[in-house]
Every structure is written in structure tokens, then in C-alpha cells.
Amino acid sequence: MIVGQQKPFEEIWGMVKDFKKVLVYGCNTCVAICHAGGEKEAEILASMIRMKAAQEGVNMKVGHAAVMRHCEPEYFEPLMDEVRTYDLVLSTACGVGVNFLAQKIGNIPVYPGINTTFYGAVPKPGEFIELCAGCGNCILHLTGGICPIARCTKSLMNGPCGGTDRGKCEISQDVDCGWYLIVERMKQLGRLEDLVEIQPPRDWSTSFHGGPRRVILEHLQDFEEKEEKKA
């Protein structure tokens, strides 16, 4: 799931303070689960902005709304007429939602209310950890299910660097050394020897370094659209 974190309120206030009618627009999937931008958080944020506006003597109307997912037009389109009555949409969806809504909305700015941070898991309530970097070329079968791209600070492919320190990474004692975890896991699986094989330099073109990515599933694409393309 995508994990996000609400921006500092002062930054948000800086974005919205000059607008007259602001919609705080939440998304009820990933960012709701991480308590950053679902309907409830959108409602709380809207209320905070109203209070701040009252304190600062700024005349501003602030509303809130939320839909199931901002990344699919069918969810937000029914609300578009209403959304377009605002001067500013402060989206608490992830960056995908902000981009996508900005493409569709027309003449109204869409600003981000949260920082989209990573793809993560929820090991326990209130804790979110990054486990995948979405690099586009998965090698988890070679590393015992622990990703060296996401979990080694340097994304090394052939073992740890000199900064590994009793299982921790040199950048912080709070960060596990990804390669330490890989080695321990491979030991447990009885496959430690597999790590001896040298991994060649990696082709990063499948990752963001190859430019914006896109996945096409032809069998699910609109038939007419396909025909158009052929023509």
C-alpha cells in the first residue's frame, strides 16, 4: 500500500491562505489506512484550516469530501461538478491522486495536503515500513524475499558495504542493514551459497531512470481505442 504523511500545517496554511473557497479532498484507500488522508483526516484538516482562518481573520469557506480512490476516474467523476465550485482543491490523496485530478479538473489548482512517502507494510498499528521501491525488475527470489534495492540504503546488489555495523546500517542505529537481513535469511533457508554468484550491473531503465512508466494490458483495453490506434 502507498504510505503518506500529512504535511506540516504551516506549509498547508501557506498554500491555502489566499483562496476563498477550499475543498479538502480525501481518498479512502491507501492514505486512509495510514491515517494521513482519508475522509476523517480530510474533515479534521478542513476544520483546522477553518480555525486558523478564523484566528487570522481570513474570510474563507472550507469544505471537505472524499471518494474511494482518486486514481480511478469512475470514483471521482460523479463529484466533479461540486468540486469545480471551489477555488482550490487541497488533495489528501497520494501524489497519483493529485496528478490525476489536476489532469481532469480544468481551471482549478490542485495542491497536495500530504507527502507521499513509500510503498509499505503495517507491522503494527501506527508503524509503516518501506519494503519495496517499485524498481520494475524484481529479484526477490535471489535474495530470500528481502529487497536490496529498497532495504539497503545504497541499493547494493552484491553484499553489504563497509558501513554495516552489527546488523545495523551506518546511517542510523534505527535502520537494519538490508544485506545483514538477506544473509541471515539465506542462512535460514540453507541457500547462503547462492549469494556467491556475482550480480551484473543492473539495468535501471525499468525503474524511474527509464522515464515515466506505463503498463498496458491489451486484453483489457477498450476495443475502440485499440482500433483507433491501429488506424
Binding site: N28, T29, A32, I33, H35, G38, E39, K40, E41, V122, K124, P125
Partner: protein, 1014 residues
């Protein structure tokens, strides 16, 4: 409704004593289908616990914990409180006692008194308050403390001006309820009960006997119970720590331990068991109140023997800088100019020290009341040599009279959780004795059918209470009525002198009928005491009890804004309007019920499990006893005698055969639980052998194991054995040779990281074996190397006996442990002697290790299976360390024995009876009612993020078969955590719904704007 059984067994129980233990027993019994009479000598129940400021280790306010329980006892339909009363005589036999109870005159009619306290305000006579320990005054018409139950004042005739001088009667003039009755002569009633429970508690040692310590002579010497009142926010100093002499804030504060305890010359020979921990608590709380305080505790031995006690003492040392000085203070002198106190004591090396302190607290011990011998005679029970009730290890709550049980400190000094435990234990024992008469004398309230108001427009009735002058003197009550009477949906509004009085309740019912009221708001006092009363009243008038809201304009308004009439009135109006706004949105709530399977499963066939199973079976329930070993018995299979008893194996054999032959018990040995589904009243368990059964309650008695030492050449050298192995040798009659030297080493595997806890049993094991060796052959040498000898309570006698027999006690500290070197058939032991301040060398033939206890390895698995938590050391964590010592937060599951914490055989048996008592209460109900105040889950809003499931303390949200979150309302307590954390607002707590809270906020802020505009 009496359909008595043939042999005339009574379904009532008499409880003598209204402290926390008696209250627990009363609630368990009354909830389990028995009528309870509680006789209390004071004017209120509560006992000692109500006087305490806070309780350790949580620092919870003592009054806040006990007060809801007192209210529950006070309001219980099947508990009659006889306050200011005493038992005069007892006749009859178990199942059929006739008890004569004398009610001393109260001079206030409880039926009329509303507890408003107007009389007390007008009483001119001030006397030192017993409750405040003479540090503050009370009046001659008084209640012991503001939260007293019953909430009825009493006149202290000895000090009343009218009774002593024949005039005054101010209270009569002040009482608007006409409750004063100077002609009250008291009365006597005869009660017929099936069982009697004695819990009169203990008195405190009178430390003025120890003149050298200066209590009552030096102003800045206080007793520990006085200091509790000093610490209390509602006490004489309002929680500010001040010296009585000059009101100055003290810096250096000393506690002196064992005042009145462990002293057979001027006081009592026993250890009072609780003082080490309460002194530590007081030192911590004092430091929290005032960080400048430097606490010092003068002690002989730190007896932190209970669950997590050592960790608390370590916290006191490390986080609060509490200084623990091992010394007895020989004299306290006062500097006459400053009133400072000069304490003289000797350091361990003999150096005499005079140290100056600002304030001194004497940790006074506990002792039976002066009239204990007569008390025992009334009930014809046998006292022990110190006038405690005599009991045995195997029957710790049974007196010498069948049908008469004892619990709490009267059985031996003990702390709150152990008292509460025994409260449930005696309830369980009485329920076994009287199981045939269950439900024969209890009352069930008959109620009219509920009026359907669901589709009716709200018609709100508002009642604003004067509370005598409590509210009316500060708030303009008529103005409040005026302000709310024309609000939308308000059909009727009035003011009343006492909304809670009997006639007002009748009026309320009448007005509901007359005006078709369907929502009621009472603006009066705290919902804590009175909400249930009003709810019952409107229910009697046919309204669902949740169609009620209480606006607190006393505690939250008139009391805190005295003398500010205008502002207070404005605020009272606002509070009332908020309640009305909420009342508009109130809906009737249904209380669901679930059926209960009257069967228990006891997990673990040690003595704890065996005792619980037998008690439940005797109470009339079927029991499945599951033990994973092939044989029952658990750890005590290796126990031959205790300090007090010598025939443990015989006892175990009898108990095992009782279990096997009991028609209500099915024993499953050599199997484990594969899985358990369900919830309280409706569990379903499958065992590893495929057997499955339904049951309504679970008792976890999974026990513990003994630590197998790796220290001191154990298993390398056969001269090194454990206490248990020595015990077996002694029991098997192995000869004890003259001239042999036994050295015992305490705390092996205990009280050290990572096992920073006391195993509780090892000091007694060592002393027991040492005595046994000495008795077999006095020409032996026995030395015990110890850190603190923890022979708490009446076990202190055996410590003395061992010393008298010539057993040597040599103290060591954890950073200077004894060193052992094998030397031929013998051992050389080097140990530091703190008195000589040098190393001494001993030679020994036998090394005996006092090894600690560990939770059973299966505890972890069981904890996961039943979702019950464990403490840092792996023992199960009870729902509340003080007041719910055998419960888990999940209902229907109970804990007992070593699975809970290390403890002795008698304590295990007490706790096992307690678990059986608590489980018996659950199983006694044909159906369990689920409160209406629960969280409602709206599946359509839920995105199954699992946050609720993870944070719920009661395990009520769960992942359903469709892979999404569902909610088991039976388990829900309505705490609202789920509603607070749910990012989708899928949870709403009944009666605290968002729309209701928002309506209240809108109402409040609307008023605010009006004020701002002015």
C-alpha cells in the same frame, strides 16, 4: 419468591466487613444468585483502601478505583448494607445460620436523606476526622468522606451539641428533607443466612507506644496512613506536601520501616507484608508531587516479594533517586527551634550517624482489632496465637467453623490484590456450599414493557435540581428552567429540591405519563452516582433507559464557581442546553442477550487447576480439566511439606482422587488444546485427540516450572543440589550427619536481569529445609546466604525459629555474589561480610541452591491462543493488578496459580478458589446481557484497515470469513477506542455518536458566540 429446598438451605450470605475484599465477595455472590447482607461497623463501606491516595505500580487514584465499586455495592438489588452495625450473636449450622445484628442509631433517616450535606455545613461542632487521621476536622453530623456509601449522614452523638448539651438542632433546621431523627434508638434484626464471611480487616499499630520515634510528640513525625492523607488531593493539605509544624515544603523526608512489625518486644512479631511497598510508593508519589523532595527509606529487609514489586523498587532507586538505607533508627530527636528531626542510626559497619530530616513517616504495621478475641467468640471460630483467624495452607479461607469463611487481612496481613482475590475465593467457597439454594432469595425487578418511541418526535422533559442549596446557592435554578423551557422539543421543564429523592422519582414517573415525555434530561450532580437511579426510574415508567441524559451542574458548575452566581448560572444554562441538544438525538438502545453454557474448561491439572475444577464442580457446573502430562499434580508433585504443613503429598493424592471421582468433572490427560473458538458463555474447544466440547468459561492454570541453574557447579558436582532435591532427600529419610555443613544460596536465577523478579517461595523453602535439618540433627551447621529474607506475614515466625535453632544468615549483594570452589568432597565458599566489612571463608559439605520459578513454556502459546497478554517475565497479565487479580480484559477467561506469578501453595489455592468464584458468577447466568452502550460497526464504511482490531483491548473486531473486518458486539465494552482511531468512521459508539457530540459542541459554541457579541 421462596421455593426453598427440602433441607432448608438459605440462599443468603452474611459478610462482616465492608472493605474492598468484602465488597468483591458481595458483588460476586450477588451477581452469582445469592442475597448478601453486609455488616459494616463504620457509617460507610470502603475500609482502608478509601483512605489511600494512590496505589502502585500504576499510580491510579485509589478513590477513583474503589468508588465505582462502592456505588455498585450500594445500588445492588441483592446487597443490603447494614452500616453502623455489628453482629451480636450467631446460632445454627452451615446452610442455616441465624444472626442477630445490632444497628446503632444513626439519627438520620436513610429513606429521607438525599446526602446533600446541607446539615453538615450548618453543624457548629468540629472534631478531628478519623478519616483524615486527625489532620483535618469533621462535623458532629458527618459522612466519613464525600463519596461515602450509603450516602447518608450520621450524627456522632458523643460529640453532638444537642445530645451533650440539649440544644442546637441546627441540622434539623438545615435539612429540607426532614431526615433528622433525634429519637432514633437503633434496632436489632435477625438475619437468616446460609454462610458467613468474615473480613473485618485489621487495625493499625499505635506507634505512640514507640516513644523514641516521637509520633504524637514531634509535629513533623507522621504515620504512614496520615501521609496518605497528606498526599491525597482531597486530603487536609489538598495534596500539597507540607510540614505540620510550619507549613514549609520539606526536602529531606525519611520513612522508617517495621514500626510495629517484626518486633516481639514492643510490638508484633509478624511482618505486616505491605509496608515496604507502600513506603516505596509514597516516596515515588511524594517525589512526583514535589521534585525537590529527597526520600530516604530506613529498612531492615526490602520485602518486594509480589508480582513486579522488585521492578517497582528498582524504578524508585533509579528513576526517582529514592535512597534505601539498611538501618534501624534508634531514636528521633527534635531540634526545638526548627522542628527538624535528628535521626540516629548505625551504618552496617557500626558507625553511628545523626542525620537531619525535615519530615519523618513511620511505616506502621497492621494488627488485629483490640476486640478480635470477642469477635472470634461471637462466631465461635478459633483464632491463632496472634488473634488472626486460624486457617490452614490447604484451606486458606476456611475457619474452624464449617460455613464460616475468612478473607483479607484478618486471615493474615496482605495487600489489596490478595485481599480481592480472597474476596472472590470466599464467594466461590460459599457458592459451593449453598449451590442448591442459588437464586432462592434474590429479587428480580419486574418492569413494564418498553414504549416504542422510535418514530416519535422527541418530547423532552427537563428537571433542574436545587440539590438542597448545593446547586441553588450558586446557580439561579429558576433562570435555568426559564432558559430551557421554550427550546425546540422541550415539552416540560421544572425545578425540584432534590431530583434524587423518593418523591421526586414518583413525580418523574407521573410526569412522563402525563406529558408523554420520551426523552429525559436531569440537570443535577455527577452521573457517577445518580445516572443509574434516574435510568431505572424512567425504565419503570416504560422508557428505554438510554433515553436519558444527565447535565452535571453541581461538580462541574456550582461547586467550582461558588460565589460567582451570574457566571455559574450562565454556565449551568449552557450545560443543560448541551444535554438537551444531545437528548434530541437519543435513540432507544437494545440490550442483546446471549445464552451461557454452564460448563467450564480448566487448562492445567496442577493444584491450581485441581482446586478450581473441584470448586466449580461443587458449585454445580460441569468441568473439563485438561492436562498435557499423563498425570495430574503439576509442580507440587515434588513438594513434601511447607513451613506450616507436612503432608502435601497426601493432600495432593486426596485431591486427585476427588477430581477423578467427581461426577461433574471430566479429566483429559495427555492432551492439549488444539483450538478454542467463541466468546464468554459460548466457547467451543477441540483437543489434540479430537475430543471437542462447549463451555462458558475458561480458567488458565498453566502453572510454572523451576529454574534449572547453570550457576555454582550445579549438574557438574553432585554435592550441589537444589532446595527441591534437598527436600526430597529429607522427606525420604536420608540421614543428616552430625558435623555436616549445609550452605544455602538464595536468589539463584531470581532478582537479576533478565529475571528481575522475586520468586517468592525460595526464602521459605530454605528456612523450611534448614529447620528440618536442624530438627533432625542439631549437630549440623546451616548457613543461608541471602539478599533479603522475605518471610512476609505470619511466616516471619519461622525465620525467628530458624535463627533460634542456630541457622546462620549471611547477607550478600548482587554485585558481590558468593564464590564457590570445590575442594575434594567439600566446598570452599568465599562471601563478603558487610558487618565485618571483609571477606569470610566458609567450608561446606553440601551446597543447596534456592532456585527461582519461571512461567511454564506453554504460556507463550496459550497467550497467543486466547489473546491474553503477559508481563515482561512471561507471566499472564491480569485485567487490573489491584482490583481484577484473576480476570483478563476478555470476559469469561480467568487466570490462577503460577501462570499468574510465583506464589505459595496457600496463595495458589486461594487464587484458584477465586478464579472458580469469578467463573462461577459467569456460569450462574442462563443468559448474559450485553450493554446497549457499545460501538456499532458500519460495514459499508469500513475498508478493513485492521486498526480497530489491533487496538481493541477486548478483541471484539475480527477478520470475518469474507476477509473483512466484522464486529462481535458481545465482547464490546463501548470504550470507544475503535471509534477514535477508525480512519473511515466506520465505528460509532451508541449514545456518543458523532452527530450527538457535534450537536452538543454546536450548542456550546453557539452560546459562546452570543456571549462574545455582547
Amino acid at each position: 419468591m421462596s421455593n426453598k429446598t427440602d433441607n432448608n438451605i438459605s440462599g443468603s450470605v452474611l459478610i462482616v466487613g465492608g472493605g474492598i475484599g468484602g465488597m468483591q465477595a458481595a458483588l460476586d455472590l450477588a451477581d452469582g444468585g445469592f442475597k448478601v447482607h453486609m455488616v459494616q461497623r463504620d457509617s460507610s463501606i470502603g475500609g482502608i483502601m478509601v483512605m489511600l491516595d494512590k496505589t502502585f505500580p500504576t499510580g491510579d487514584c485509589s478513590m477513583c478505583m474503589i468508588s465505582p465499586k462502592m456505588v455498585e455495592v450500594g445500588r445492588h438489588l441483592n446487597i443490603d448494607i447494614h452500616s453502623l452495625s455489628e453482629v451480636v450473636s450467631v446460632k445454627g449450622q452451615p446452610g442455616d445460620f441465624k444472626v442477630l445484628v445490632k444497628h446503632h442509631p444513626r439519627y438520620v433517616d436513610p429513606a429521607k436523606c438525599t446526602g446533600c450535606g446541607d446539615c453538615e455545613a450548618k453543624c457548629p461542632k468540629k472534631i478531628p476526622s478519623e478519616f483524615e487521621q486527625q489532620l483535618g476536622p469533621r462535623k458532629a453530623i458527618y459522612s466519613l468522606f464525600p463519596q461515602a456509601v450509603p450516602n447518608t449522614r450520621a450524627i456522632d452523638a458523643k460529640n453532638c451539641i444537642y445530645f451533650t448539651k440539649g440544644k442546637c438542632k441546627n441540622c434539623e433546621k438545615a435539612c429540607k428533607a426532614n431526615a433528622i431523627n433525634y429519637e432514633d434508638k437503633g434496632s436489632e434484626v435477625e438475619l437468616k443466612v446460609g454462610a458467613i464471611i468474615l473480613c473485618p480487616g485489621l487495625d493499625r499499630y499505635d506507634a505512640t507506644v514507640r516513644g523514641e520515634l516521637g509520633l504524637g510528640r514531634w509535629k513533623n513525625v507522621l504515620s504512614s496512613i496520615q501521609f496518605e492523607r497528606v498526599l491525597s488531593a482531597s486530603g487536609p493539605f489538598k495534596g500539597e506536601i507540607k510540614r505540620p509544624s510550619d507549613g514549609r515544603h520539606p526536602t529531606k523526608v525519611a520513612w522508617i520501616q517495621c514500626v510495629g512489625s517484626r518486633d516481639s518486644h514492643k510490638a508484633n512479631p509478624w511482618c505486616s507484608s505491605v509496608c515496604c511497598m507502600y513506603a516505596t510508593k509514597q516516596a515515588i508519589i511524594a517525589k512526583e508531587h514535589d521534585s525537590h523532595i529527597e526520600p530516604t527509606i530506613f529498612f531492615m529487609e526490602m520485602r518486594a516479594y509480589g508480582k513486579d514489586f522488585d521492578k517497582y523498587v528498582e524504578r524508585a532507586k533509579n528513576d526517582y533517586n529514592v535512597r534505601y538505607q539498611r538501618a534501624m533508627v534508634s531514636i528521633i530527636r527534635e531540634d526545638p527551634e526548627t522542628n527538624d528531626l535528628i535521626l540516629r542510626y548505625a551504618l552496617e559497619d557500626g558507625t553511628l550517624v545523626d542525620e537531619i530530616f525535615d519530615l519523618v513517616i513511620l511505616s506502621i504495621g497492621l494488627e488485629p482489632y483490640k476486640d478480635a478475641p470477642e469477635f472470634a467468640k461471637i462466631f465461635k471460630i478459633e483464632p491463632n496465637q496472634y488473634n488472626f483467624a486460624k486457617t490452614s495452607t490447604f484451606q486458606p479461607v476456611q475457619t474452624s467453623q464449617k460455613g464460616i469463611y475468612v478473607m483479607g487481612a484478618y486471615q493474615g496481613p496482605k495487600d489489596i490484590p490478595e485481599t480481592v482475590m480472597q474476596g472472590s475465593a470466599v464467594a466461590g467457597a460459599a457458592m459451593s456450599l449453598l449451590s442448591k439454594a442459588r437464586g432462592t432469595e434474590t429479587v428480580i425487578r419486574k418492569l413494564p414493557p418498553e414504549i416504542d418511541v422510535l418514530n416519535q418526535e422527541p418530547r423532552i422533559g427537563v428537571f433542574v435540581c436545587h440539590c438542597g442549596i448545593n446547586i441553588a446557592a450558586t446557580v439561579d435554578v429558576e433562570k435555568v428552567v426559564e432558559a430551557v423551557k421554550d427550546l425546540p422539543n422541550v415539552v416540560y421543564a421544572t425545578n425540584t429540591l432534590y431530583a434524587c429523592s423518593q418523591d421526586s422519582q414518583e413525580m418523574l414517573k407521573q410526569l412522563i405519563k402525563e406529558h408523554n415525555l420520551n426523552r429525559i434530561v436531569v440537570a443535577s450532580c455527577t452521573p457517577r452516582t445518580h445516572e443509574p437511579l434516574f435510568q431505572e426510574t424512567i425504565r419503570e415508567a416504560g422508557l428505554n433507559k438510554y433515553l436519558f441524559d444527565l447535565a452535571d451542574i453541581r461538580e462541574q458548575c456550582s461547586w467550582c464557581h461558588m460565589g460567582n452566581r451570574e457566571a455559574a448560572t450562565k454556565k449551568a444554562i449552557k450545560i443543560a442546553k448541551m444535554a438537551i441538544a444531545k437528548a434530541r438525538l437519543l435513540e432507544p438502545l437494545k440490550s442483546e442477550t446471549v445464552n451461557v453454557t454452564p460448563v467450564a474448561m480448566v487448562l492445567g491439572g496442577g493444584i491450581a487447576g485441581i482446586t478450581s475444577a473441584l470448586s466449580l464442580a461443587d458449585q454445580g457446573y460441569k468441568v473439563h480439566l485438561v492436562e498435557k502430562e499423563e498425570e495430574l499434580g503439576g509442580l507440587i508433585k515434588n513438594l513434601y511439606n511447607t513451613l506450616e504443613e507436612s503432608n502435601v503429598q497426601e493432600f495432593l493424592k486426596t485431591k486427585i482422587s476427588e477430581v477423578k471421582s467427581h461426577p461433574n468433572i471430566t479429566v483429559h490427560t495427555g492432551v492439549e488444546v488444539k483450538k478454542t473458538d467463541g466468546f464468554v458463555g459460548n466457547f467451543n474447544t477441540t483437543l489434540t485427540n479430537g475430543v471437542s466440547f462447549e463451555h462458558g468459561a475458561i480458567i488458565l492454570a498453566t502453572g510454572g516450572v523451576e529454574y534449572l541453574p547453570t550457576e555454582y557447579f550445579y549438574q557438574e558436582n553432585e554435592g550441589v543440589i537444589t532446595q527441591r532435591e534437598l527436600e526430597k532427600k529429607l522427606a525420604d529419610g536420608e540421614p543428616v550427619k552430625a558435623g555436616d555443613t549445609y550452605i544455602m544460596i538464595q536468589c539463584v536465577g531470581s532478582r537479576e536481569e533478565p529475571f528481575q523478579y522475586c520468586s517468592r517461595i525460595c526464602c521459605q523453602d530454605a528456612i523450611k529445609n534448614a529447620i528440618s535439618i536442624k530438627e533432625k540433627n542439631p549437630k549440623t551447621n546451616v548457613a543461608i546466604l541471602y539478599r533479603d529474607i522475605r518471610t512476609y506475614g505470619l511466616k516471619e515466625d519461622y525465620y525467628k525459629k530458624a535463627r533460634d535453632l542456630g541457622v546462620l544468615f549471611i547477607r550478600y549483594e548482587v554485585d558481590k555474589k558468593p564464590i564457590i570452589e570445590p575442594s575434594g568432597n567439600k566446598f570452599i565458599i568465599k562471601v563478603w561480610d558487610y558487618l565485618l566489612n571483609k571477606e569470610i571463608i566458609l567450608s561446606a559439605d553440601h551446597i543447596v541452591l534456592s532456585t527461582g520459578l519461571r512461567p511454564h513454556p506453554s504460556t507463550e502459546k496459550v497467550s497467543g491462543m486466547y489473546k491474553v497478554t503477559r508481563n515482561q517475565d512471561g507471566y499472564f497479565l491480569e485485567a487490573h493488578v489491584k482490583l481484577r487479580p484473576v480476570d483478563f480484559p476478555s470476559e469469561g477467561i480467568f487466570v490462577t496459580g503460577l501462570a499468574h506469578a510465583p506464589k505459595n501453595l496457600d496463595e495458589t489455592i486461594s487464587q484458584a478458589l477465586a478464579a472458580a468464584g469469578r467463573a462461577g458468577v459467569v456460569l450462574s447466568h442462563k443468559q448474559l446481557a450485553v450493554s446497549g452502550l457499545i460501538a456499532k460497526h458500519r460495514k459499508e464504511n469500513c475498508m478493513s484497515c485492521l486498526t480497530c482490531m489491533r487496538v481493541c483491548p477486548f478483541d471484539s473486531p475480527y477478520i470475518a470469513e469474507d476477509g473483512r473486518i466484522a464486529h462481535n458486539e458481545v465482547k464490546c465494552h463501548g470504550c470507544g477506542i475503535c471509534a477514535a482511531v477508525c480512519p473511515a468512521k466506520a465505528f460509532q459508539v451508541n449514545n456518543f455518536r458523532d452527530d450527538q457530540i457535534l450537536a452538543m459542541i454546536d450548542q456550546a459554541t453557539e452560546c459562546e458566540l452570543v456571549v462574545a457579541e455582547k
